[in-house]
């Protein structure tokens, strides 16, 4: 399969955030690639329906795992824009039907963003006893000019497992506002992990990850990890609300703040609407460990390099 499926900068950024681009591009890898508003690759496999329609500034798409099908090979999605300015809007719908299973590796890349908006309105449903593992890694370039607004609404059926990992730890962030809501039915399990590094005064990060436990014995874990340095601003809100008997959840927020003008805020919110349910939380915000900083600087790193290394270690 030709590498022209995606521009060089987008492939490079996929490599930078840790994806294996050789695997991404292999002909037999299930995939869906979007370059601004052009769908450049779709590769389906048995039990996996991928359909997209290009729109003026993005696309609408269905990602469906049919009933009882377990997709054994990870599915690669890539949504990129190499323009400096503009708006990309994508509207995906993920349906993991009863008994279905899939791992999706998604890459969002805006390597030249100077005044670029990316909006996503995603809806997700998992039927009964389904598994949906979703990992999304972003790269917003080095200019700090991306404005990224992803919204997810996820409904998780009985006995299903939903895991989401979001990371943006390379390059600058720009403006990022994530809104994720997950509704969990009986005996389902939810794990959410978000990791973001705001490294300059242009970086403004706002994340809301909310889990609503709506079925008996539903379980949820929200983990938020963030760092703000050199004037960056990060606010992370982790919500877990338990409304059913014996539902249980935990919210864990950890943030590092370093440098003048940097701010980090962690807001864990726990609500319980059933006397047999239980939700716990923990939160901490602090500067990097001075001893670790001294040790790295004694080995020849500048303070900036040492802070970056410690933060990346945490993230």
């Amino acid at each position: 399969m030709s590498k022209s499926l995606l521009p060089y900068e987008i492939l490079e950024s996929a490599r930078l955030v840790g994806f294996n681009t050789d695997t991404m591009l292999r002909e037999d890898t299930p995939k869906f690639f979007l370059n601004y508003n052009r769908i450049t690759a779709i590769k389906k496999t048995e039990g996996l329906i991928l359909v997209g329609k290009e729109t003026e500034n993005g696309m609408i798409a269905d990602f469906i795992v049919t009933k009882g099908k377990k997709i054994e090979i990870p599915v690669h999605l890539c949504f990129g824009v190499v323009k400096e300015k503009g708006i990309q809007e994508i509207i995906p719908r993920f349906i993991i039907d009863d008994g279905g299973k899939v791992l999706i590796l998604a890459h969002c890349s805006f390597p030249r963003a100077k005044d670029l908006i990316h909006q996503m309105e995603a809806e997700v449903i998992l039927g009964k006893d389904a598994v949906f593992l979703y990992e999304e890694r972003h790269y917003h370039g080095e200019e700090g000019g991306a404005k990224v607004f992803p919204r997810f609404q996820v409904h998780v059926g009985k006995g299903s497992y939903f895991k989401s990992v979001f990371s943006l730890i390379k390059g600058k962030v720009g403006l990022l506002s994530i809104d994720l809501e997950v509704y969990a039915q009986s005996n389902s399990k939810i794990e959410i992990l978000s990791k973001v590094y705001g490294r300059c005064k242009e970086d403004r990060v706002k994340i809301k990850d909310a889990v609503f436990l709506e079925g008996e014995h539903a379980r949820g874990l929200v983990k938020l990890r963030a760092a703000a340095s050199r004037g960056g601003d990060v606010i992370m809100k982790g919500i877990t609300e338990a409304n059913a008997p014996y539902a249980s959840g935990h919210v864990d927020c950890r943030e590092i703040v370093q440098g003048e003008g940097s701010t980090a805020r962690a807001i864990p919110i726990v609500r319980v609407g059933d006397e047999t349910a239980r939700v716990t939380h923990e939160a901490s915000v602090g500067r990097v460990n001075q001893r670790e900083l001294d040790t790295l600087m004694a080995r020849g790193l500048t303070e900036e390099e040492a802070v970056d290394m410690i933060v990346k270690g945490m993230l």
Binding site: K53, A61, D62, R93, I95, D98, Q185, E214, N243
Partner: protein, 87 residues
């Protein structure tokens, strides 16, 4: 409790759906359970998914108790009615 303090109540989509469902005509718990169903149909594909999500009776009971307590619904003769036009 002022409007700002009540905002969190409607952060949960299930509570918004309950309020929409009962409307002004009023519904019993059983009717709400039967009528409220979450499903997603594909935008483009012809595939007909079987995935459906129903609210559990215990969760519905907890939501209704909360909405009653906060004055967003009222109960008359076993039926729940929406009390406010909107928040």
């Amino acid at each position: 409790m002022n409007q700002e303090e009540k905002k969190w109540l409607l952060e949960n989509k299930y509570r918004r759906l309950i309020l929409e469902n009962i409307g002004k005509t009023g519904k019993t718990e059983k009717e709400i359970i039967e009528e409220l169903e979450i499903k997603l149909m594909p935008y483009l594909s012809d595939y007909q998914p079987t995935a459906r999500i129903k609210m559990t009776p215990s969760s519905l009971k907890n939501h209704l108790s909360l909405l009653l307590r906060e004055g967003l619904v009222e109960k008359k003769a076993g039926k729940f009615y929406q009390k406010l036009e909107k928040m």
